[in-house]
């Protein structure tokens, strides 16, 4: 089974190498070799412990085609705040023709990855080489090997982008396909940006989306990213975020996911300079037999850094969720503050949740905590609301909303909050 899956990927890889520049080809081959050396992931790999491999490795895919999309199909999905600052991906491929970046300061560079490889080669090649050397997740390497049309976004130092940038991923392939969207952010020192992404399914079919967001934050840089992951029910979606943070920089991520056959979010954040901080939050709303898996690794490699994680799941039907998180504090990372929480609300009788919070600390002056809960709606809370005349259904709805809103009330705009609420309502009946 695994051999067939691998052979399918090899075919696609070779097909994808046709007609590309020698530089692109060299990088892809290197990535494929790394992927092959690591082998297909299995349940022993961090973050994959509950991934449904048996089912997944039975699938077969083709390369995504470039579907024709009209403005009517996506314009209503653009947030009002982003009318002149949106980037469109169709079936995993960045489309400059459909995108609009007129609201961005002129110093900001938005390029196809292949063009950036030549224009900003030094930075990108170093970044890719390091990733190929250090990355242990085979699928993140596969992303580089199978890259089709990635995006490079460079915000030079001290440039502050006032408007949020929306990245809209549209999925509308005609047949089973693999997508490997890749985005590279380079945020210069003291620069600041807000990035919003949406995954929207225009046609529901089998697919494997293997996306990677690579973030490099220079000193004092700030990047906030907010995502609504609403993949097609029949898809497998892997989103991996890799970020390196230099001194005084700040990275914030907040996602609301509805999951699919299996939605896996994987964060690997390295706090490399003093006083860097990251805040990762997410909520996944699962119904039927959908699955969500979150894996977080935060490396505290410098003193005075701060990290915070809050991940929540609402599980209906016979959905499954897992959370695996590690805070790794190196011996030099004194005065670290690191917190991690995972809360699961089990609403379905057959729903299942696994949580594995983890701390590994080698410094001796550290404030750190982790915790996990798996609960149902609290009968004491329900009774309190009912004693004020609120009927049981409304009371349950209110409590559920309370659980969800702790995350989604932090959405950067009302339109996005509304979209997150719609996802929540859809999956909680």
């Amino acid at each position: 089974m695994n051999e067939t899956f691998l052979a399918n990927l090899q075919d696609l890889f070779e097909k994808n190498c046709e007609g590309v520049t020698p530089l692109q080809k060299a990088i892809r081959k290197q990535a494929w070799k790394r992927f092959s050396d690591l082998g297909l992931p299995d349940k022993t790999l961090p973050g994959y412990g509950y991934f449904p491999f048996q089912q997944f490795y039975r699938e077969s895919y083709d390369l995504a085609s470039i579907s024709q999309i009209s403005k009517d199909q996506y314009f209503s999905l653009i947030y009002p705040e982003c009318r002149n600052s949106y980037l469109i991906f169709v079936n995993g491929q960045y489309s400059p023709e459909l995108s609009n970046t007129t609201a961005l300061p002129r110093e900001v560079v938005v390029l196809r990855l292949r063009d950036a490889l030549h224009k900003h080669g030094n930075f990108l090649q170093v970044r890719l080489s390091r990733s190929l050397k250090e990355e242990k997740d085979p699928f993140v390497n596969l992303n580089i090997a199978m890259i089709q049309m990635g995006l490079f976004l460079y915000i030079p130092q001290k440039v502050v982008i006032d408007v949020p940038i929306q990245c809209l991923h549209l999925i509308c392939n005609e047949k089973s396909a693999i997508f490997n969207p890749r985005i590279h952010f380079f945020v210069g020192s003291q620069a600041k940006a807000r990035f919003i992404y949406d995954h929207v399914c225009l046609k529901d079919f089998d697919y494997f989306s293997n996306s990677v967001i690579d973030v490099a934050l220079e000193e004092g840089a700030q990047l906030e990213q907010y995502g609504v992951l609403n993949p097609c029910a029949h898809g497998y979606a892997l989103t991996s975020v890799r970020a390196t943070l230099k001194r005084d920089s700040r990275f914030q991520s907040l996602t609301c996911g509805s999951a699919c056959r299996s939605l896996k979010q994987d964060f690997r954040i390295a706090l490399l300079g003093e006083n860097a901080s990251c805040d990762l939050q997410g909520i996944n709303l699962l119904s039927e037999n959908r699955q969500s898996h979150v894996n977080v690794h935060i490396d505290h490699a410098a003193p005075y850094c701060h990290s915070n994680q809050l991940f929540k799941n609402v599980l209906n039907g016979h959905s499954k969720a897992s959370f695996e998180g590690k805070i790794y504090v190196e011996s030099k990372a004194q005065k670290t503050e690191a917190y991690q929480l995972n809360h699961n609300l089990l609403l379905g009788d057959r729903a299942m949740s696994n949580s594995k919070p983890n701390l590994e600390i080698f410094a001796d002056d550290v404030k750190a905590s982790h915790g996990a809960t798996v609960t149902q709606l609290d009968p004491i809370h329900l009774n309190y609301l009912r004693s004020r005349g609120i009927d049981p259904d409304t009371a349950k709805k209110l409590l559920l909303q309370g659980f969800i809103c702790e995350i989604i009330d932090k959405a950067p705009c009302e339109a996005m909050r509304q979209r997150m609420m719609q996802v929540a309502e859809k999956h909680n009946g």
Partner: protein, 250 residues
């Protein structure tokens, strides 16, 4: 309007209330006093409909209806309000959102038109003023991070909004400083009228200096062991509960 007859209640298999009889008529203010563990809070929770408390025998009639058969929200719709000694904290739900839902639930039960959030904000604003509470109070999460006194004020705010015909206030005075007590007592008196009933459950006399009950009952070991007028509260304050205990034993 509220008639409790020979009420026996247990929790986790332990009998707490051992035959309570109490009648409250419109316009009457009653107080139940008693030492810790006497069963005072159990009585309020049973009336509110807490499912953890099992009624072994007895009746609680409110406006001639047996409320023990009713769901907690049905009791609230009938005009009963119980303020809790330890109101729960519910993260993620704003006070405004909760109060609006409760207000509209009552209106729906009375078949009155629901009010919009903006209309409700005005109504809430008046009640906040009544209890000298800041408008920001409405935006905070329900009881989350509230001090003991703030939680109690929030309970009275709910009472003022829902305008019940009978209120049972369980240890509303605990956690309140003297100024807060005056404001809360003032708020309670404004809501109270001659067609309503009020039952104060308290450990100490001090709330009763502000809201003077006409009837005072002493509860001990799950029973009302003595009833009297306001002078009884005064005697308890001076002599303590041991005095009653000795009298009962004698």
């Amino acid at each position: 309007m509220l008639i409790i007859k020979n009420l026996h209640v247990s929790v986790d298999g332990k009998v707490i209330l051992k035959g309570i009889d109490l009648t409250i008529e419109p316009g009457e203010i009653h107080a139940i006093m008693g030492p810790n563990g006497a069963g005072k809070s159990t009585l309020s929770k049973v009336i509110a409909g807490d499912p953890d408390y099992e009624v072994i025998s007895g009746e609680v009639l409110y406006l001639d209806q047996n409320i023990l058969e009713m769901e907690p929200e049905e009791r609230a719709h009938l005009g009963l309000f119980v303020s809790f000694q330890y109101p729960v904290e519910i993260p993620g739900i704003s006070n405004l959102h909760f109060l609006h839902a409760a207000y509209n639930a009552q209106r729906k039960a009375k078949e009155e038109p629901l009010v919009s959030e903006s209309e409700f904000r005005k109504i809430l604003g008046e009640k906040l003023d009544l209890l000298e509470m800041k408008p920001a109070f409405a935006e905070r999460n329900l009881n989350e991070g509230f001090s003991g006194g703030e939680k109690k004020r929030n309970e009275i705010l709910q009472m003022a909004l829902l305008d019940p015909s009978m209120a049972i206030l369980d240890e509303t005075d605990s956690g309140l400083d003297i100024d807060a007590m005056r404001v809360v007592a003032c708020g309670v008196k404004r809501v109270f009228s001659q067609d309503k009933g009020l039952l104060l459950i308290t450990h100490y006399q001090r709330l009763l200096d502000y809201i003077r009950p006409e009837f005072v009952h002493v509860m001990m070991d799950g029973q009302i062991v003595k009833s009297g007028g306001p002078e009884l509260a005064q005697q308890l304050e001076e002599k303590g509960y041991d005095w009653i205990e000795e009298k009962v034993e004698a």
